[in-house]
Symmetry: C2
Subunit: 336 residues, 2 copies
Amino acid sequence: MGSYHRYELGEVVLQSGLTLRGATLAYQTHGRLDADKSNAILYPTRFCGRHEDNEFLIGSGMALDPARYFIIVPNLLGNGVSSSPSNMPPPFDKARFPKLTIHDNVVMQRRLLVEELGIERLRLAVGWSMGAQQAYQWAALYPDAVERLAAICGTARTSPHNHVFLEGMKAAVTADAAWREGWYESQPRTGLRAMARGWAGWALSQTFYREELYRQLGYSSVEDFLVGFWEGMFLSRDANNMLSLIWTWQHNDISANPLYGGDFEAALGAIKARTVVMPGRTDLYFPPEDSAYEVDRMADAELRTIPSVWGHYAGGPANPEDAAFVNARLAELLAS
Amino acid sequence: MGSYHRYELGEVVLQSGLTLRGATLAYQTHGRLDADKSNAILYPTRFCGRHEDNEFLIGSGMALDPARYFIIVPNLLGNGVSSSPSNMPPPFDKARFPKLTIHDNVVMQRRLLVEELGIERLRLAVGWSMGAQQAYQWAALYPDAVERLAAICGTARTSPHNHVFLEGMKAAVTADAAWREGWYESQPRTGLRAMARGWAGWALSQTFYREELYRQLGYSSVEDFLVGFWEGMFLSRDANNMLSLIWTWQHNDISANPLYGGDFEAALGAIKARTVVMPGRTDLYFPPEDSAYEVDRMADAELRTIPSVWGHYAGGPANPEDAAFVNARLAELLAS
């Protein structure tokens, strides 16, 4: 996974009231922090992504250029690299791993930046999918610390339909008796494959399949794509980690904290960052209308829909055209 | 389920080469066949629907008025009323029930009409969802026998994305070890509940959930809707029947037969019926663009998209406004 750091936070009391003991944020950095500490960019990971999965938007000559910026990529709690069900020692392992919110993640990331790296302000907070959720929460929780915000195929609050989609995914993996309420010794493989097949329909659009764009990813048929890409990816994951992250995702709401007390519109309105929100035109679980709602309630936000038929994957590395679109918007935002 | 008839076809050789022994089409009729047998309407059932589920579009003063028309509602093979995994005696029961195509259904329905009811021509073939698939197949297979065609939230060929959605549903129910490859003694309830939760995200739109329209159906929250409506409905069904119907749905293609040899455009072009195709604007598994493609390749077809946020359910009884839209289009079509 390349070189990365581990920041030990000790005992962290969570929103739930439980304590995460031996809390660890794994993170990777690119570039160097400049003398006045003004070139920091935070770029958190997505669902089940790890820091190296973010590298497709980082590079020389790109918007996120390590020659210009100090880019911090923290791993989401529950992703198997930061503290997770799969790496926590008993008794808080597996099914007893505490439920974590996006807010919990962001508070810990803030400590990493301030206490460990000495960074008070961000030039930009950016993320795709659950990464966007974290970036949104940063901008709402620390409005003066986030100069710019870029949310790619992700929302500030999980919509009811998105919640239902995730209920279907949870039900698929937990229908496998081998899951054993989380106390499995080996992975519930049938359940992971079932979730993979279910997810395949949600992550990519109707048009993606109609135009056989899986061929661009090296798959020869729908079934080859379902097995080779989807089942293969999900079999490499830990079921409890995925369920932990799904809980985090389902409970995403930038206003679900004492600062905003559930007033979602107030939390959106408090964001000071210059913002670009980039939903995918054909994203089935973060449809553009949810992003439009959020943009309308922010002080300085622009909606730039990715004109893509790659569904939710418009925000990722799969289609170079989409990544180029996102990169161009990030360059504009950083130049503004 | 109200009074209905059973038409016994004996041994029927299927497209697969297998023989369906003791083949039975259950059907209900409304109204009376007129003297010159010119007022017949065929209105087949949808996925897991039974004849009584079609009654919402039938009634005095409605387009499908039993005072004017003789309306035949055949039950889809596999739906638990016509020949199905759940009602077939050994050895062709349960997991050994033969795979059935829409073509198999339509050929048997044709025999019912010609041999049993003496009907050679249809004033209209109409259906919702898998009902639309059967209506399409009728119009393509017997172009001179179908004067009018109305396809509601359904297509003439299952799209690759729709296939993937159904793969997810199959994987969810079969992830339950209680399924036992179809040889269960009692239903795989965990798997049925998992499939129900998965299906809930597909059948209704993002906007449906955002606007909490499940309240109009008598449910107080998303979770209440998932358990009360979806799990309740799926627990009343037989897993093998559902899997049989899903196979039928996945293989739907009006050209997958000797007459058209897989030439889908030729099959569409052969349809002579005056046609109205009504996709739902927000249907996630039969999106309007698939219907537009089909309308463009038919001789006398019109696209009338249902302006609904009820997703696939725009074609059903759930939202009275949508049912009124559909009824109005059927009235126009029958008057033309």
